[in-house]
């Protein structure tokens, strides 16, 4: 198609050619063209198929507000062709049609079987019977539905970014009001950004005439000169708490935090409701003017303009100026013919309204009426100017509200929240559904996205959905890609007509304008995938030596090094080394430190001697076990507390909170990050360590539960004579920066004893042999120490109060109902963790830990069961998830070294 002559404000570069493909066919456009304008210039008229009926749809708004030109571009679905500039090599394809856009089998099906299941609410009414057929329906529906196809095998190598921005003022909308607001703000010295969705600034000015285009260009130049940062084309996705506005531009999502948001979102021209108002060739006036004035395309040869206001008259004048014959302007308003039309030689039909369009795959004319008078006008272009509505979605999202102005018969801004300002006068035009259209026999669409017709609205009202907010859940009007931009007003007007009321907020209401404002890809929402990972100072040593590094909370830890059985055996028989740097570590210090710990823990710390370690559990107010660990006394006023790995942050908060509540002279410092910790365990631990330190490790000098400062391999360390794994062991704490050095020194010193590093899995076996509880695995939010087999740690005779005391005293008075006990499998079978303890076929308890101990040659575990079964030697039955029954016997002692001889050796 030959372009119209040059004009100020046109967006195309006539010297530049861009080649792309449409449906596999090579097409060329001009630089500056959108996909839509280039294809239209190439003769394409059908751009998509409608959602339900698969009716052909052509360009409508040319401004990204309607669903009619959604296409698939280079694998990206639901791309708005009218907002996307063409690029060399771009591959554009249709969506939602089969086998082709021109001949769609589903349209043929819908046309041939008009009664088949697609009426309003069909989601709830059809495809229900016969029930066995649903699997076939589902397959068909999944194939037919959607707005494009994602290729699951397609590897995304595009880079999607999130960029945080802070500005004093963010202006949403680059029309005349937005540009003026941004200019004023920038000239006031405020850091100002402006977001404009369209490809040209100035809003309606940009396509409304030479003088208007000049004014738009001047405003833009002034704004840029004043320092306004202009993001264009870019769109604001919504307004969130704290004046957060996501702005999407290309493959980047900007997260703007603005001191003030200026809403200059303007108005959107609306379609008119009449028969077959969706045919290709029926377009909005603003869309036509964009094609004519910005892309210099003649959208038809013979036009009819249907209007309710002066915008239609301006459109007709633009068409006439471009050399397109305008057969008539059909104006719903009564009055004398407009002089401008008279000058242009265009007939002005006053008081007429459209009834229905003519044509099947493209419009060929339109029937209009005035009372009983009917006229049929031939046209290959029918222009709709159904008035405008203000865009208040972002205002409502920001916490504002709108109300119906009965005088002007439009919705207007009511409450505007602090930090938000509305620029311009986005009022819109009063409009009504033409009464003449009621006589149309063809479908009259109120919602292009979801194929909702006036008949659908009628049916929904008849079925009791008597407000727009309710009705939308039934008809799905406003729930498509346009999110109500093309259908909110008209569906409200049709509903008001059905109900015989005003379309106000009380009787018809408005729907909730939820973000995002436009179709958005999940890739943009996700951005780059940053997943914080905690690594110990020895992480890479583990990985480089075959450690299976698995997530353990926020950390990566070695599960094992390939042979967990031999790692377990090494600890029992000679020497093993495990990285326990993930333990939480807190310093509690100050004159009240001991008193503070007395209040936190159920056991005693005030009487604790210097250089000693004590096991402790932390309970909540309800007596439940929150965490466990050890406490070492470093001095009279300083304690070193370890917590579980996952409990470090929580315990820091817990300690800090209570310290603030009690107002004690005590400080809590989390030193988890600063300290690496290793457990050297096994019968040869003392001998191996002796060679690295002058510290006296003899049992008499440094007995079980001792603590001491020592230099080990040149590194300052804190030694704790404790162990989780049941053999002689030393927990060695040192500065993280020296962690790998110390680890390597320990491994070298242990070489003569065939030392093995051991991972989490061997550690779980070793601790289970000792029946040591893992808080969070063997306990849950209801577990309290009396029932969890730790009554010995609860010192109810302590003088002071402590957290959980009241509840635990109450539990003691009540008596235990459940008990956490050990069990040995009677036949060697290891029940799965989670297996049930059953009595008489009914579940009464559950297995929390289970393993096969090669050292002991039997299956062992820990389980909750009724307290009356918690007797040494009681026979119990475990029901595995597989359904098999496993006989077992209760034990109340550690499975391995119950008298602690090895641990204390």
């Amino acid at each position: 198609m030959k372009r119209l002559g040059r004009r100020k404000g046109e967006l195309i570069d006539r010297e530049g050619t861009v080649s792309f493909s449409w449906e596999g066919r090579a097409v060329s456009g001009l630089a500056g063209d959108t996909i839509a304008s280039a294809l239209y210039a190439d003769g394409v008229r059908v751009f998509s198929r409608s959602f339900k009926y698969h009716r052909p749809r052509g360009l409508l708004c040319c401004s990204g507000q309607c669903p009619n030109c959604l296409v698939q571009v280079d694998g990206d679905p639901a791309v708005r062709a009218c907002m996307t500039p063409i690029a060399d090599g771009m591959a554009v394809e249709h969506i939602n049609a089969w086998p082709s856009l021109e001949r769609d089998a589903l349209h043929a099906l819908a046309s041939a079987t008009p009664a088949f299941g697609m009426q309003v609410g069909f989601y709830y009414k059809t495809f229900m019977r016969p029930r066995w057929a649903w699997k076939y329906y589902e397959k068909f529906l999944r194939t037919a539905a959607g707005l494009g196809k994602l290729d699951p095998a397609h590897r995304r190598d595009r880079r999607y970014e999130k960029v945080h921005r802070h500005v004093d003022v963010l202006v949403i909308g680059g029309g005349e009001a937005g540009l003026e607001a941004a200019l004023a703000s920038a000239r006031d010295g405020r850091d100002t950004a402006l977001v404009e969705e369209g490809l040209a600034l100035g809003g309606r000015l940009a396509f409304s005439g030479i003088a208007a285009a000049t004014r738009a260009a001047e405003l833009e130049a002034a704004a840029r000169e004043a320092g306004v940062e202009i993001l264009q084309p870019a769109w604001a996705g919504g307004v969130y708490e704290g004046n957060l506005v996501p702005v999407y531009q290309g493959d980047t999502m900007y997260r703007f935090r603005a001191g003030e948001i200026v809403l200059a979102t303007g108005t959107i021209e609306q379609p008119l409701v009449f028969g077959k108002n969706d045919l290709p060739g029926i377009m909005l006036g603003s869309g036509v003017r964009r094609l004519v004035n910005q892309y210099r395309i003649a959208p038809g040869e013979e036009a009819v303009v249907l209007t309710v206001d002066d915008l239609g008259i301006e459109t007709a004048c633009d068409l006439a100026e471009a050399g397109i014959h305008v057969a008539a302007v059909v104006d719903t308003r009564e009055g004398d013919p407009d002089e401008r039309l008279g000058v242009a030689g265009i007939e002005h039909l006053r008081g007429f309204a459209p009834v229905e369009a003519r044509g099947s795959s493209h419009v060929t004319g339109v029937v209009v009426a005035r009372g009983g008078e009917r006229r049929t006008l031939s046209a290959d272009l029918v222009v709709m100017s159904g008035g405008t509505v203000a865009q208040f979605g972002t205002l409502v999202q920001a916490g504002g509200s709108v109300r119906y102005d009965e005088g002007r018969r439009v919705y207007i801004a009511d409450h505007v929240p602090d930090g938000v300002r509305v620029a311009g006068e986005p009022v819109g035009t009063a409009a009504a559904v033409p009464a003449s259209a009621e006589t149309a026999k063809a479908k009259q669409f109120v919602c292009y996205c979801e194929d909702v017709t006036t008949k659908d609205v009628h049916l929904s009202v008849a079925e009791g959905f008597a407000s727009l907010e309710l009705s939308k859940r039934y008809t799905t009007v406003t729930m498509g890609p346009c999110q109500g931009k093309m259908c909110h007003r008209n569906s409200g007007l049709v509903m008001a007509r059905e109900l015989g009321v005003d379309p106000d907020e009380q009787r018809v209401g408005v729907t909730t304008a939820r973000p995002p404002h436009n179709p958005t890809s999940f890739s943009l929402l996700a951005g780059r995938g940053y997943e914080p990972v905690k690594r110990t100072s020895v992480h890479h040593w583990h990985a480089e030596r075959g450690g299976k590094m698995l997530w353990a909370g926020d950390w990566k830890r070695p599960y094992d090094y390939g042979d967990p059985d031999s790692e377990t055996a090494a600890v029992h028989e000679s020497l093993g080394l495990i990285d326990v740097s993930t333990l939480g570590k807190l310093i509690v210090r100050g004159p009240d430190a001991a008193a503070f710990l007395e209040r936190i823990y159920p056991n005693r710390y005030g009487d604790m001697k210097l250089a000693r370690v004590r096991y402790g559990i932390v309970c909540g107010d309800d007596g439940s076990i929150l965490d466990d660990g050890t406490v070492a006394r470093l001095s009279e006023t300083e304690f070193y507390v370890t917590t579980t790995s996952s409990g470090a942050g929580g315990m820091e908060q817990w300690f800090t909170w209570w310290n603030a509540v009690w107002g004690m002279d005590c400080q809590i410092v989390n030193v988890t990050s600063s300290v690496a910790a290793f457990n050297l365990a096994g019968p040869n631990a003392r001998t191996a360590l002796t060679g690295l330190t002058p510290f006296d490790l003899a049992n008499e000098a440094f007995p079980y539960l001792g603590a001491g400062h020592a230099e080990v391999a040149g590194v300052p360390c804190l030694l704790l004579r404790i162990g989780f794994v049941g053999e002689l062991g030393y927990e060695i704490h040192c500065p993280a920066a020296a962690g790998e050095h110390l680890w390597e020194a320990l491994m070298a010193a242990g070489e003569q004893f065939s030392v093995k590093p051991f991972g989490l899995e061997p550690q779980r076996v070793l601790r289970l042999e000792k029946a040591h509880v893992i808080v969070g695995q063997d306990t849950n939010a209801e577990s309290q120490p009396l029932e969890a087999g730790m009554p010995w740690i609860v010192k109810l005779d302590k003088e002071n109060d402590w957290i959980g005391r009241y509840s635990i005293e109450w539990y003691q008075g009540r008596g235990n109902r459940a008990s956490l006990v050990g069990f040995e499998g009677a036949n060697g079978t290891v029940p799965k963790e989670g297996a049930q303890v059953v009595v008489g076929g009914a579940p009464v308890g559950r297995v929390t830990s289970s393993r096969f101990s090669r050292r002991l040659g039997k299956a062992i575990g820990i389980a909750w069961l009724p307290s009356d079964l918690a007797e040494e030697g009681t026979a119990i039955t475990l029901s595995d998830p597989s359904g098999s029954s496993i006989p077992a016997r209760v034990t109340l002692k550690a499975f391995y070294d119950p008298d602690q001889e090895r641990l204390r050796s």
């Binding site: 945080h164 780059r528 300052p716 500065p735 993280a736 020296a738």
Partner: protein
């Protein structure tokens, strides 16, 4: 157990010569082809100079003290620094994060003496906080891809500090004028460094040495 210094095991400053202290980012440096050199007892990364609009450097070897106390005590220790302010004196940075919490940053060899001078209020967190410097003309572009904190010149100028989320982890940020010096938990060091590099990829971020290359005249003096 010694009562003189109950926190000796926290402080790498007392490690024997030859221990070779390592930053948590060492393996990332080696994987990127950096050479490791010795600096004040640490193994630090050396990269060839690069001309880039943004650069990132591992400064985890800096000495760091966590200072806590009453507001009046912090007033005295920081010489009246306001909350969110920082000051540099003779190579030592003092940061006042809250009325009762601050940090002191210093060359590593000076940490012991500084800790002695400050007293019990200071805990050596030299190996508790990894330090990553982000510099270059486009450092704010990179930072904005990493964090929602407001680091505009007008709101977070030189000698300002704040705590917040950067790359989804808790971070202390100090604007030293020529760079943003960011501190995260030691265990996050490698993740954080990698993430900042990724965020800066589109602006061509470069890895920089822990110790800036000597200026030509300085190098000549050293040679002479």
């Amino acid at each position: 157990m010694s009562e003189r210094d109950p926190y000796a095991f926290l402080s790498p400053a007392t490690a024997a010569a030859g221990v070779g202290l390592r930053t948590p980012i060492e393996r990332a440096h080696l994987a990127a082809g950096a050479e490791l050199t010795e600096l004040e007892g640490w193994r630090v990364a050396a990269y060839p100079p690069a001309d880039a609009d943004a650069w990132v450097s591992d400064l985890s070897h800096l000495g760091k003290l966590d200072v806590r106390g009453g507001a009046e005590q912090l007033d005295a220790l920081t010489a009246g620094l306001a909350t969110g302010a920082a000051r540099s004196d003779d190579g030592v940075w003092t940061l006042r994060l809250t009325p009762t919490h601050g940090y002191v940053l210093a060359p590593f060899p000076r940490v012991g003496a500084l800790r002695d001078r400050i007293g019990a209020a200071a805990i050596d967190v030299s190996s508790g906080l990894a330090a990553v410097a982000l510099g270059g003309a486009r450092r704010r572009d990179v930072f904005n891809r990493s964090s929602g904190l407001d680091v505009r010149e007008a709101t977070f100028g030189p000698n300002r500090c704040m705590a917040g989320s950067v790359m989804r982890v808790p971070t202390l940020v100090l604007n030293r004028g020529e760079d943003f010096l960011m501190f995260v938990a030691w265990e996050y060091g490698e993740y954080f460094y990698d993430a900042i590099l990724d965020a800066g990829e589109t602006v061509g971020i470069a890895r920089a040495s822990a110790v800036p290359a000597a200026a030509p005249e300085q190098a000549e003096e050293a040679t002479a």
